[in-house]
């Protein structure tokens, strides 16, 4: 069905900035390359700025969801979190459909240094990985045991943040975290050393 093809193209245009800009620069060539000639005919007449506006709205919604999944990381990074998320989100649509999957992909994006500049302070990366593991333990499936090791004193950092204190120092040390779930109907139990 023609509309189905158009919707697929529209969804990609809204979530992949590089593809969008390529498409509006040379719609016929891109459409031919992607085998979308007929579907593309209609969408090529969309004003690019309107599509960009919708893409920004989608990114803002994703940012809101990911911020809820990684609340401490968002808090400590502030505006930098928003900038880093933008770098992540313009690359493509959220992976999967579950709420936590976008947050996990974002943390993976940060972890492999894809943002270009390392996340500062260094302990913020450990905090992001810690919150990602928590998301995994709560949402993503049937894993009964999750273990993680972090190169920072996360127990102290989390306590500081919970108490409303401004994090200070480099939080040097090591932390070992475990989430364990007896069944999918139970909340995971969590230990932090």
């Amino acid at each position: 069905m023609e509309l189905a093809r158009q919707q697929q193209l529209f969804a990609r245009l809204c979530t992949d900035r590089r593809f969008r800009e390529e498409f509006f620069a040379a719609p016929a060539q891109v459409a031919a390359r992607e085998g979308l000639t007929v579907a593309a005919e209609g969408l090529a007449s969309l004003p690019p700025e309107q599509l960009r506006q919708f893409a920004r709205l989608l990114r803002t919604r994703r940012l809101g969801e990911v911020g809820l999944a990684l609340p401490l990381t968002r808090r400590v990074l502030g505006l930098r979190f928003v900038e880093l998320f933008k770098d992540h989100a313009i690359q493509g649509p959220p992976p999967g459909e579950r709420p936590g999957e976008d947050a996990l992909a974002f943390v993976e994006f940060l972890h492999r240094g894809a943002a270009g500049t390392p996340v500062e302070p260094a302990w913020a990366m450990s905090l992001a990985r810690y919150e990602a593991a928590k998301v995994q333990a709560q949402w993503l499936g049937r894993r009964k045991l999750i273990m993680r090791r972090f190169p920072h004193a996360l127990r102290r950092l989390v306590a500081d943040l919970a108490g409303g204190a401004k994090p200070e120092g480099d939080y040097s040390g090591w932390t070992f975290a475990v989430w364990c779930c007896a069944s999918s109907n139970q909340e995971p139990r969590h230990w932090l050393w």
């Binding site: 709205l57 989608l58 139970q186 050393w193």
Partner: protein, 328 residues
């Protein structure tokens, strides 16, 4: 507990839960609305739909549920006539969230609102997701449930916000087909929301209000009128919100979303982070005057104020409904 580690397993919400359990003793008894749709096969379709919409309960004024307000909402239950919940958040949810839903459902009439079912997807509705939505709705037994006149799924991509459809016959046919599929699985009445559409899809052959009217008519659905979306779309369509309102099938309005908008260059711009502007109250008044609304729902996502501030706005909306005799 293992070793000398700290045990964090019962979550910070543990203390709240014990409080919530106490509160369940004074839980509100709710009528079972959801069976209203089960008689659909035995009567003429249009009459049934009309009756279905006409018989929906008059709920009053409430708000879209946000987690930070959980404990306080339970304390201030009498000030809220219903809660709209983001249904997608409770699909495949972790146990803590399921418990939260159970507690809320004992105290409030809940209206589940979805966007990931994607009734506007030309590739059809995901049957697995539909089954999960149906199960949740059956569990809640709401007076109605809602989705959007738009799509969020296409080609394996999930959009975080419903995208508009082309205003043409193909768009109507897609909605109609998916609504039929959904209604086979879900007995509770369905209402559909007008989506935010900063762009007009090429290939449209009809007026947007006519398109909405056709979708609702064919699908036998009520309208969830989002005033912020209406206000934001009007300039794109080259008209003002009141003019767009005039063309909509107001007799089908069941629920209204209203929210804080800011004014920019004489236009209302959607912003669920501000108090409700006077121009929005005026628009709401115009709707309540003319449409047989069953409830008014305040939405606020960001920059959350104290709950008391939101409840003042809910009370103002409730008074508006009283004034126009939409409820007692």
């Amino acid at each position: 507990m293992i070793g000398n580690g700290i045990f964090l397993g019962d979550r910070a919400g543990g203390a709240e839960h014990s409080g919530l359990e106490l509160l369940t003793k004074r839980a509100r008894k709710r009528p079972a609305f959801a069976r209203a749709g089960t008689a659909l096969n035995s009567m003429g379709r249009k009459t049934e739909i009309t009756n279905l919409l006409a018989n929906l309960p008059r709920l009053g004024a409430g708000l879209a549920y946000r987690e930070p307000f959980r404990a306080e909402l339970l304390q201030r239950q009498p000030e809220v006539d219903f809660l709209e919940i983001d249904g997608d958040r409770y699909i495949d949810a972790p146990p803590a969230r399921k418990n939260e839903l159970a507690v809320l459902s004992e105290h409030f009439t809940l209206i589940p609102h979805f966007c990931r079912l994607s009734l506007g997807s030309a590739e059809g509705v995901d049957p697995v997701y539909l089954e999960k939505v149906a199960r949740l709705i059956k569990q809640l037994s709401p007076p109605w449930w809602s989705e959007h006149i738009g799509f969020t799924r296409a080609g394996g991509i999930t959009l975080a916000q419903p995208a508009p459809l082309p205003f043409n016959r193909e768009g109507i046919d897609v909605m109609k087909r998916n609504i039929v599929t959904a209604r086979r699985a879900i007995a509770a009445p369905l209402i559909l929301e007008n989506v935010f559409a900063p762009l007009v899809w090429p290939g449209g052959t009809m007026d947007p209000a006519e398109f909405i009217g056709e979708v609702l008519g064919h699908g036998g659905c009520g309208l969830l009128l989002d005033l912020a979306n209406l206000s934001a779309n009007a300039p794109v369509l080259g008209c003002d919100p009141q003019a767009l309102l005039d063309r909509l099938p107001l007799e089908r309005v069941v629920q209204v979303h209203f929210s804080g908008c800011r004014e920019s260059k004489g236009r209302l711009v959607e912003s669920r982070s501000q108090p409700v502007a006077e121009s929005m109250w005026e628009l709401l008044d115009a709707v309540v005057t003319r449409a047989p609304v069953r409830c008014l729902c305040l939405e606020r996502d960001d920059n959350l104020p104290a709950l008391g501030h939101l409840l003042q706005e809910v009370e103002r909306a409730r008074a508006l409904g009283h004034q126009h005799k939409r409820w007692n």
